[in-house]
């Protein structure tokens, strides 16, 4: 090559590259937060083919008419306000103005109607269809659009939990999507919602990403409030990295592979809070952990034996160990974070070994083995069983632990084929829904532990009732009845423990426990 050309190249190329590099650095890398997920999402369709991680993910993309606030009460989201008729059969939602979908179109009442009709179509296989088609508390009779920004739902019976059910994350928050999310033949393409993030890249089995929706129309509030409030996103990209194995997830956090772990165990919390550069964010959640009885079992059908078990457990010690000191004892089905957790709900079982022994003797129990099913997939369930066994030994109750694989235990739970079982219920965000998960007719639903007819009546009333005070009274009655009946022993509510790296601001754990990446930002210098 010619001498001068060579010289130019030798000088020019490096200089140019340096300039280029400087420019790119100045332009700034898009900010990225990496969050650890313990499994891949199932699909991008809200409330359809979903699991917990899918729910957490989709709630960043779509928004519903109403949503849960930080304290687990229900507040308006896409709706400006909600008006309920006096007879409780008509719900009128007035939509906010100027809300944009992620494809640029504006939100209208027609879109709401279209989305809801799709949800209510059995072909969609929406998870929450049973709650709205008459199998649950009430049935949606029709949805009408009297004005461009007004939607009217008519139901057949008063339903105190309608709005709470609409807000459920496992329903996808009943998120409103634009018709372009679906192809002409009805197959799902991708979610076009109104939320602060849009669907990014999805590398199945490895990670799935969210991109900030630049034209997001936030609510007027100053800050985020649960799944509602001002949900403006501050970070450009969020990547949910799939790390099924908890130990690997922890290793990833420590080595910088992820920035946030939304849900670590209590043991890990004890360790991680002492690690430099890590911060722990804790919140109680609404999962219910306890021991279930089969009241139709020949031995456990005797309430005296069940009551003896309830009186023999040292709850404070058990909960302190199970939650590493992070949770409180709760013998009530109503979670501690619920608005309905009042003085009555705080009443529980006293620790009375004498009385327990007396009851056992009276019932004629002489040491027959009682099988307690546990599993290894959820360590807290297993530990609950181990501790219960040890404590019950002191009053002479002979507990035999039967370890099963989770799938096998679920089968036993579903069919009611067990004597005792250590179990944890997924969270229900309304007290009536919590009671509904354990109460029912055993002939129709063998998995329900409590089939006291009086309880069923009270439950139905609580589900229909919308007035808070009346509901509180019903819940008080339910709790008192349960303490006497002892169909199960509730022990504690779980905690959500999130761990974030220094520099991540605005991330909070909360009673609904799903991770939220809006309102979260990275400090200036970051990877």
């Amino acid at each position: 090559m010619h001498h001068y050309v060579k010289k130019t190249l030798y000088v020019g190329v490096p200089t140019l590259s340096l300039c280029f590099a400087a420019l790119t650095l100045q332009a700034g890398e898009p900010s990225l937060i990496k969050v650890g997920f313990n499994g891949d999402i199932r699909s991008t369709e809200p409330g359809v083919n979903r699991d917990e991680n899918s729910d957490a993910f989709i709630m960043h993309i779509v928004e519903g008419l109403v949503a849960y606030r930080e304290d687990a009460s229900v507040g308006p989201m896409l709706a400006k306000d909600v008006a309920i008729s006096d007879d409780g059969l008509t719900y009128t939602f007035t939509l906010r103005e100027g809300v944009k979908f992620q494809n640029g179109k504006s939100l209208t009442a027609e879109d709401v109607k279209w989305t809801w009709q799709r949800y209510l179509d059995p072909k969609t296989q929406w998870r929450c269809l049973p709650e709205f088609d008459g199998r649950g508390v009430s049935k949606i009779l029709d949805i009408s659009v009297p004005e461009p920004l007004k939607v009217v739902f008519r139901i057949d019976q008063p339903n105190g939990v309608l709005l709470a059910t609409m807000s459920r994350p496992d329903c996808g928050g009943s998120g409103i999507v634009h018709p372009d999310s679906v192809a002409a033949d009805g197959t799902w393409i991708a979610p076009i919602g109104t939320g602060p993030f849009t669907l990014g890249q999805w590398k199945q089995g490895q990670y799935v990403e969210l991109n900030r929706f630049k034209d997001y129309t936030p609510r007027a509030e100053a800050k985020p409030d649960g799944f509602t409030g001002n949900k403006q996103a501050f970070v450009d990209r969020v990547r949910f990295v799939v790390i099924p194995d908890a130990a690997s997830a922890k290793a990833a956090l420590l080595s910088g592979g992820v920035d946030v772990l939304p849900d670590v165990t209590a043991m890990d919390e004890a360790e991680l809070k002492n690690v430099a550069g890590m911060q722990v964010r804790i919140s109680p959640v609404m999962t219910l952990g306890g021991l279930l009885f089969q009241t139709r079992d020949p031995l456990l059908g005797d309430v005296r034996i069940r009551r003896a078990v309830a009186l023999s457990l040292d709850y404070s010690q058990m909960v302190a160990t199970l939650s590493n000191g992070l949770s409180a004892v709760n013998n009530s089905i109503i979670p501690t974070t619920s608005a309905y957790y009042d003085a009555t709900a705080q009443k529980g079982y006293p620790h009375d070994l004498e009385e327990a022994r007396r009851l056992l003797k009276e019932a004629g129990y002489h040491g027959q083995p009682i099988k307690l099913i546990v599993n290894k997939r959820y360590p807290q369930m297993f530990d609950m069983g181990v501790l219960s066994q040890a404590m019950l030994q002191s009053v002479g109750v002979n507990i035999v632990l039967e370890t099963m694989e989770w799938g096998a235990q679920l089968e036993r739970y579903q069919s009611g084929n067990f004597q005792m079982m250590a179990f944890s219920y997924s969270p229900r965000f309304d007290a009536a829904l919590s009671y509904e998960s354990v109460t029912g007719n055993k002939d129709k639903e063998p998995r329900k532990v409590w089939d006291n007819p009086k309880a069923l009546v009270l439950l139905r009333e609580a589900q229909s009732e919308s007035v808070a005070q009346k509901r509180q009274a019903l819940f008080d009655q339910l709790h008192t009845l349960m303490l006497a009946d002892v169909p199960m022993v509730m022990i504690y509510n779980g905690t959500s423990i999130g761990v974030v790296k220094d520099g991540i601001e605005g991330y909070r754990s909360w009673p609904i426990s799903k991770p939220r990446l809006w309102g979260v930002s990275l400090a200036a210098t970051s990877k």
Partner: protein, 292 residues
């Protein structure tokens, strides 16, 4: 004439070509291997009657203690003494391995002899089943068996036993096939012994050599597999301890309490080393071709 000679030698003939060697000082690998094994077995047996602390006793105030004079191998996430659990683990791990190998040897020998001796359709069908079982992933079998009969020591023994039986069948069948053509077997049949008697008296003892070698290898596989299964969450359920489940349980604490993962791994490696060395020596002794 030759028939008469072999007749006289009827009492449990060895296959020819075996030079019976005079007793010599055992080679180094047998000593080291055997010695290590004895130590580990001793540890297991001692654990039956005495451990420094109770292996199952929780002590929530003394969690995650590093190795010290009070706790030679430290404590785990529940405050349990690691050394005591290691001794309990020795007992459980070695016992499970022993049982599963025994199962495989007994079942495999029976099937292998049947297949090898009877040949024909019995052989074909058995070998097809055998090959199918051989290709079947152990994990699925382990999970299947344990999900059906419940997770327990015996579930694992059954799963591993079934998983290793095909290898035994292959080896035994191979031996039987080569042995059945030999003179003394023919002779045994000629003088009127039943097939069964011939199988038992003449063929079986000669399968012993390769079987012994295989059995020692399988013992190592079983130990390893049990650890791997525990690692994946399918092992002996807690609070019982096996080395594998202790190793698996130590994973979340690898950064803060590394000793919890190092010692079980060391013990498993030592046990496998012992088995390998001893197996080598055994093979050298029994298989004349390998000797210099």
């Amino acid at each position: 004439m030759s028939a008469k000679r072999t007749l006289q030698a009827e009492p449990a003939l060895r296959a020819p070509l075996r030079a019976r060697r005079a007793w010599r000082y055992p080679p180094l690998n047998a000593l080291i291997g055997g010695g290590l094994l004895l130590i580990l077995i001793g540890m297991a047996l001692l654990g039956l009657v005495w451990t420094p602390y109770e292996p199952l006793r929780l002590d929530l105030l003394a969690r995650f203690q590093a190795p010290s004079a009070a706790h030679w191998l430290g404590t785990d996430e529940f405050g349990r003494d690691a050394l005591s659990r290691m001794m309990m683990g020795a007992r459980t791990s070695l016992w499970i391995s022993l049982l599963s190998v025994s199962f495989a040897v007994v079942a495999g020998t029976l099937i292998g002899m049947l297949a090898g001796y009877l040949r024909g359709w019995t052989d074909r069908v058995l070998m097809m089943l055998n090959d199918a079982l051989l290709a079947f992933p152990g994990i699925l079998m382990a999970l299947g068996i344990m999900a059906i009969i419940g997770a327990s020591q015996y579930g694992i023994v059954l799963a591993l036993g079934i998983a290793y039986t095909p290898s035994v069948v292959r080896v035994v069948r191979g031996s039987v096939l080569s042995l059945r053509e030999l003179e003394f077997v023919e002779a045994s049949r000629v003088i009127g012994n039943s097939e069964f008697y011939t199988m038992l008296r003449h063929i079986a003892p000669n399968c012993l050599a390769p079987l012994c070698v295989l059995a020692t290898s399988m013992f190592g596989w079983a130990l390893l597999s049990e650890s791997a299964l525990s690692f994946l969450g399918l092992g002996v359920p807690p609070p019982a301890a096996t080395w594998g489940s202790m190793l698996a349980a130590s994973r979340p604490y690898i950064a803060s309490a590394a000793w919890l993962g190092i010692f079980p791994g060391i013990f498993i490696s030592l046990a496998l080393l012992a088995i390998n060395l001893f197996g080598d020596a055994l093979r050298d002794r029994l298989d004349p071709r390998m000797r210099k």
